[in-house]
Symmetry: C2
Subunit: 376 residues, 2 copies
């Protein structure tokens, strides 16, 4: 919670839940990344929070952008980024979208299989491609599925295929898992990347770049290591695996760039018990899984929640959203401790919500409007 957000909320008169993002915190986060990894280019993961204010601030600071769609490419360009600072980082692209990105000037594309390479070769001739590899995600609070990337053994073939089709086989990418708490998590994947560099070199292909991905955490209920700690650990791993031939590197922070910059203010709509002897109270907010808190899916992300009654005695509560959907429950497997004195109508503050909230929210589920957002 920053003084600027506190001031904004004090003066807000509109009804309904809202997200407030303090752009000063985003600026500080960007500068932390730039300092911690001075030889690495920062590609902000636009999907985390694509608000024009965030994009404009980062473009002005010199950030590059990792994008998931043509719409995100257009947003980054509208914010002032030139196309040479944009990566089309989604491994799943329609060929006509690759062509649109190419027409906009984008020359850097992610791939993870031969068919995607062929699309890029046809629609973006001569472009640079990097191949995403699978990574086990150990240590991450939200290990990724196997959706993106191929086994390292296949990556060499994919990159060679790109090379033969006239593309620039540019490098390797991986993702160590979202909200990665282990600063050493990059080591193993960098070992795989170095192996791919060697095998490609044996086939006459010189790779240039390692995309270190995202995974940098934001603080929820537990402390997380500093960005400096990640930077130093990654640099050591680079030296270990690449010796004196350290490649060009990029990072793609999303959550780590904007997560801690935002706070959602919500309202307690109802508090009830299911029976007279029930030991757990149900607390219903005016925001839930479909209103922006989708990352509570499987109770994956546990947000810090501040109430006006903090300091009073607490008891375990099931926390749920306002919709007529029985799946719209935030925390139940592990109930959330909230003040016994918490009352209907109280405003609560959900911290660490600057990333992956606004754009996840449903268009109009149950007639509720999408999450409002203010970037100040």
């Amino acid at each position: 919670m920053t003084e600027r957000i506190r001031e904004f909320l004090r003066n807000r008169r509109e009804d309904g839940p809202c997200l407030v993002v303090d752009l000063d915190v985003v600026r500080d986060n960007y500068l932390d990344f730039a300092r911690a990894l001075p030889d690495t280019r920062v590609f902000y993961a636009v999907k985390a929070n694509p608000s024009p204010e965030v994009l404009k601030l980062l473009a002005g600071l010199g950030s590059c952008f990792d994008t998931a769609s043509v719409a995100e490419i257009e947003m980054a360009m509208a914010a002032g980024a030139t196309p040479d600072r944009i990566s089309f980082g989604n491994t799943i692209k329609k060929e006509r979208d690759i062509a649109r990105a190419f027409a906009l000037g984008v020359r850097l594309y992610a791939v993870d299989c031969a068919d995607e390479v062929e699309k890029v070769a046809r629609a973006a001739p001569g472009a640079k491609v990097f191949c995403r590899i699978l990574c086990d995600g150990a240590g991450a609070e939200w290990p990724l599925s196997r959706k993106f990337g191929c086994e390292p053994s296949l990556a060499v073939d994919v990159l060679e295929h790109a090379h033969r089709l006239g593309l620039e086989a540019y490098g390797v990418s991986f993702h160590v898992g979202s909200q990665q708490g282990n600063t050493e998590a990059w080591d193993q994947a960098l070992g795989s990347a170095a192996g791919i560099f060697r095998e490609c070199a044996e086939r006459g292909i010189n790779l240039s770049m390692v995309n270190l991905g995202g995974g940098f955490p934001t603080r929820y209920l537990r402390d997380v290591p500093t960005v400096e700690a990640y930077g130093s650990s990654i640099f050591q791993a680079l030296c270990r695996h690449f010796g004196n031939a350290i490649p060009e590197t990029i990072i793609e922070p999303g959550r780590g760039m904007v997560g801690n910059a935002g706070i959602i203010e919500a309202e307690v709509v109802l508090i009830s018990k299911k029976s007279a002897s029930d030991e757990v109270r149900w607390v219903y907010l005016d925001i839930g899984k479909f209103g922006g808190l989708a990352e509570t899916m499987d109770e994956a992300i546990r947000y810090p929640i501040r109430t006006p009654r903090d300091g009073d005695a607490v008891e375990p509560c099931v926390l749920a959203g306002p919709t007529c959907d029985s799946a719209d429950v935030l925390y139940e497997k592990v109930p959330y401790p909230l003040p016994v004195s918490l009352s209907i109508g109280d405003k609560v503050l959900i911290e660490g919500t600057g990333a992956y909230t606004t754009t996840y929210s449903a268009v109009a589920f149950n007639g509720f409007p999408p999450l409002k957002a203010y970037h100040i």
Copy 2:
């Protein structure tokens, strides 16, 4: 798939996934419900598909409406429903929203605890309230959580509280679980309801109504019982528990009213393997969990998928959406059999998607627009 939808898709020129709903099927479904339960009023669950065309059709046929928010009440009224045909069926309501509904003329409210009763008593004096009770949901493909309703033992107190505060203690509601395949599932809950009627009568309160809720299934991969079978089983259970004093009843079909009326057309964006020896192919569509298929959460709903290669040999595939989100995977725990010949660029048809798709879709996640919909 109806001929009208087939014809519409043949002539469609726009890009991107879309839902097409055949209103003739919705009409048939309404008439089936009205015939199967001739003494029961139908309150369509607006949240399932709040499109103006669906609401207008149903209002014209004489349907009533179960609503989750003031916005849904306004949509039902805009479609021609008078407020006496509208129930504010969400048990979680802000007091100012109850007041807005009351000002619009709505007189029927759901409650499940004393605090909600007090809000209704203050904001909608004299209105009718029904108390939702918990129900175990056995037999449902998607049993509901304990989010809505109280234990039957508490319901009598809740209704008495309403009575004392000048509200009309009108009845009891329950929900047997979504996609309920067992036509007998209403029996146990009706037994509980009858018990509440008796206990209230002993306290001098005469309840009038049982809200039988939703749960009526739509056909996905498996056949489901006919609406007639549900109607006859429910009528028998009413006779069993209420004898010759059968109360007024209402039902709230949502999925059962619109599910089978809609089909989503999507496109295969990519097909890949994670390694040369991988036995499962990954098939990526241009629609996923955040684009309207949220009910694939935990692989709960398994939609029938038609491809232009049906009849060819099939193999198990992991099916995933187009976003850069590793949770955007539709079917992986139980891979989906799809034709080996399926190719990038093929259009597929996802059946049974008329309910709980459009309004679930995210506003702009990864820059992808919300699901387009056509009601024909």
